[in-house]
Structure formats: structure tokens, C-alpha cells
């Protein structure tokens, strides 16, 4: 009798979940780990400071607005006579602490990241409408080879002579994570 009652009230739980083969599950987990490692870097001020959502570059670990009302300008490299290169050279200055790298500049406004979460940033980064028409291969190259990106691990010292904070993942680990994420199909995990 009891068995009959139980059988009559039992209904399978509705779910969209379908079992995934172990290998596929492992691959997905590895992809997600690589994604989050990559995004731990891309959400750090060393990256975000040059991807502002307004037209003002940011400075420091607290991402305060750049002193002296510095702004983007049409070229993303400052204004006609006062440019990024007025103060920033192609390498860090050991005496003045002015940071520097080849093509020191802001990311274009379409590549604004500040205020977005890591998933939104990844979508923006992969969206050709917003990423300057770059293919996944070109994005991977930017992340792993561009001097300005890799400057994040050689940021020099701040105005007090203290080392600037490094991203939370080493350069080697970051590059490995980026390569792994792209090679596994650059899937953005759900939030």
C-alpha cells in the first residue's frame, strides 16, 4: 500500500541538466579555471585603469582620476599639444616614476571596461563590434604579446618610490591561462 502511494506522488524533478561525459566535464572545468585566472588579471587596476568607462584615465591601485584633468582626446593619446607622450615615454622612468611603455594610450571608448563584471568584460573583449574588429586570434595575441599589456608585470614604482602592485597572477600563468582559454574555444562561463 505504502509503495503504491509513493509511486503515485513521485514525479521526476524538471531540469535542463543533462549528464556530461567525464572528459567534457573536465575540459569545461579547465576552461573555467583558465577563464577566471585570465579575468583575475583583466579586472585588476593595472588593466582597468586604461579601459575607463568615461574619458578619463585612472591612476593607482585605487583607480583615481588622472591628475591635472588629463583626458582621452580624439586619438586616445591625449590632446594636440599635451599628449600622453608629453610625460610618458616608451619605458618607465626610474627617477620621476612616470610609467611608460610603447604606445602608451587609453583603450578606445568602445572597449570601456570599468564598472563591468568579469563576464561582461569578456563579452566586450570578444565582441567585434566593441573590440575594434579583432578576431579571437588577434585578441589572444594582444593579451599575450602586447608591450602595453605586459607592462602590467613591470609597472615600476609609484610617486613615493614604492613598487606598483602587480596583477594577482604571474605573467607566465596568465599567458598559459589565456592560451588555454582560447584553445579550448573561449567559452565564457555563466555567472
Amino acid at each position: 500500500m505504502a509503495g503504491f502511494v509513493l509511486a503515485s506522488i513521485y514525479k521526476p524533478i524538471e531540469t535542463a541538466y543533462t549528464s556530461t561525459p567525464v572528459n567534457e566535464q573536465e575540459n569545461r572545468q579547465n576552461t573555467d579555471v583558465a577563464f577566471h585566472k585570465m579575468m583575475d588579471v583583466l579586472t585588476h587596476p593595472r588593466c582597468l585603469n586604461c579601459h575607463p568607462s568615461d574619458n578619463v584615465p585612472k591612476q593607482g591601485e585605487d583607480s583615481h582620476p588622472h591628475h591635472f584633468d588629463i583626458a582621452r582626446g580624439e586619438s586616445h593619446k591625449g590632446f594636440e599639444a599635451t599628449k600622453c607622450a608629453t610625460c610618458h615615454q616608451s619605458e618607465n622612468n626610474p627617477y620621476s616614476s612616470a610609467p611608460g611603455s610603447p604606445h602608451w594610450s587609453l583603450a578606445p571608448h568602445s572597449m570601456r571596461w570599468q564598472g563591468l563584471d568579469r563576464f561582461e568584460i569578456a563579452k566586450s573583449m570578444m565582441d567585434t563590434e566593441r573590440n575594434g574588429g579583432r578576431s579571437p586570434e588577434e585578441i589572444k595575441k594582444h593579451l599575450t604579446e602586447d608591450d602595453l599589456v605586459l607592462w602590467a608585470w613591470e609597472p615600476g614604482t609609484n610617486i613615493k618610490g614604492e613598487p606598483r602592485e602587480l596583477p594577482p597572477v604571474s605573467k607566465k600563468e596568465f599567458i598559459s591561462a589565456v592560451e588555454a582559454w582560447f584553445e579550448s574555444g573561449h567559452t565564457i562561463p555563466s555567472k
Partner: protein, 164 residues
């Protein structure tokens, strides 16, 4: 190491041990051109502004190695008492300086601006002239910048009437 550069039209070859020596120290202490001033040493105040190949740079934060083969112009090369640059003349006429310490940097920044934008708006001035003046002479500077633009445009019209 030896660095070769042209400063105010004169060639110089300078022996240095530290390639990161600020260009400002070379200009002031080796070449003896004291018009360019040391302010903050952090590329922030602009007192040390001069031109490298026509572009304004903060010379306190410009390693001399980057000046190799370049044309440097300092406030002394912009003009002189007998033949002042339009910016210098406008500065005199508007009696801009108070203590005067930061003014060479402002004049060099302004000269660079007028080479890029012959008729700067107030917004152009706000965007490009971001040096610091502790005396607060900004109001007179703004008037002088507009006057300098008029003077320079008048000279250009005489020299190149077809372009005007």
C-alpha cells in the same frame, strides 16, 4: 656614452655615464641654459616644459637617451629680447608673470599648442595647458594665449598670404 643633439640650433655632443639623466639637467647644468626650470621632478607641474622635435615634453622626466639626434628648443631658443616669439610678446603685453618661475614652461606649452591649433578655443586651452602656477596667473595667461594666437596668425598671414 655620448649623446648628440641640436639645442636651439646648435649641435652638441655630450658625454654622460647615466643614460637616464633627465634632459633638464643636461640643458641647465651642462649647457648652462637656465630658463627651463625644475619644479616637481615628477612630470606633473610643467615648469620644465621644452620642445623635442616640436613636441612639448616634460624634461625632468625625459631621459636624455631619448634626445639622441633630436632638435631641442628651450625658452631661450623660442625668441629673445630683440626678437621675441609672439607668445613671449603677448606674455609681456599682458603682464602675465607674478613670481615668474613657472612661466617659461607655460610659454613653451603655449608655443607648442599654437603650432597645432592656430586659433585655440578656451576648451583647447583647458585641455592642453595644464601646467601649474602657484601664483594663480591663469586668467592673464588665457588672455595672453589668445593674444599670442592673433599675433602669430598675423605674422603667418604676412609670410604666407596664400595660406591665410
Amino acid at each position: 656614452m655620448k649623446i648628440s643633439m641640436i639645442v636651439n640650433g646648435q649641435s652638441h655632443a655630450i658625454e654622460l655615464t647615466d643614460e637616464y639623466t633627465p634632459l633638464l639637467w643636461v640643458i641647465r647644468d651642462i649647457l648652462g641654459l637656465k630658463g627651463t626650470k625644475f619644479g616637481c621632478g615628477k612630470a606633473a607641474c610643467g615648469a620644465c616644459t621644452l620642445h623635442v622635435d616640436g613636441e612639448a615634453v616634460r624634461s625632468c622626466s625625459y631621459p636624455v637617451k631619448f634626445a639622441e639626434g633630436k632638435q631641442i628648443t628651450t625658452i631661450e631658443g623660442l625668441g629673445n629680447a630683440e626678437n621675441p616669439h609672439p607668445v613671449q610678446q603677448a606674455w609681456i603685453e599682458e603682464i602675465v608673470p607674478q613670481c615668474g618661475y613657472c612661466q617659461p614652461g607655460f610659454m613653451m606649452a603655449t608655443a607648442a599648442l599654437l603650432n597645432k591649433i592656430p586659433n585655440p578655443t578656451d576648451e583647447d586651452i583647458d585641455n592642453n595647458i595644464i601646467n601649474v602656477c602657484r601664483c594663480g596667473t591663469y586668467y592673464r595667461m588665457r588672455k595672453a594665449i589668445h593674444k599670442a594666437a592673433d599675433k602669430q596668425n598675423a605674422i603667418n598671414e604676412i609670410n604666407e598670404p596664400t595660406k591665410a
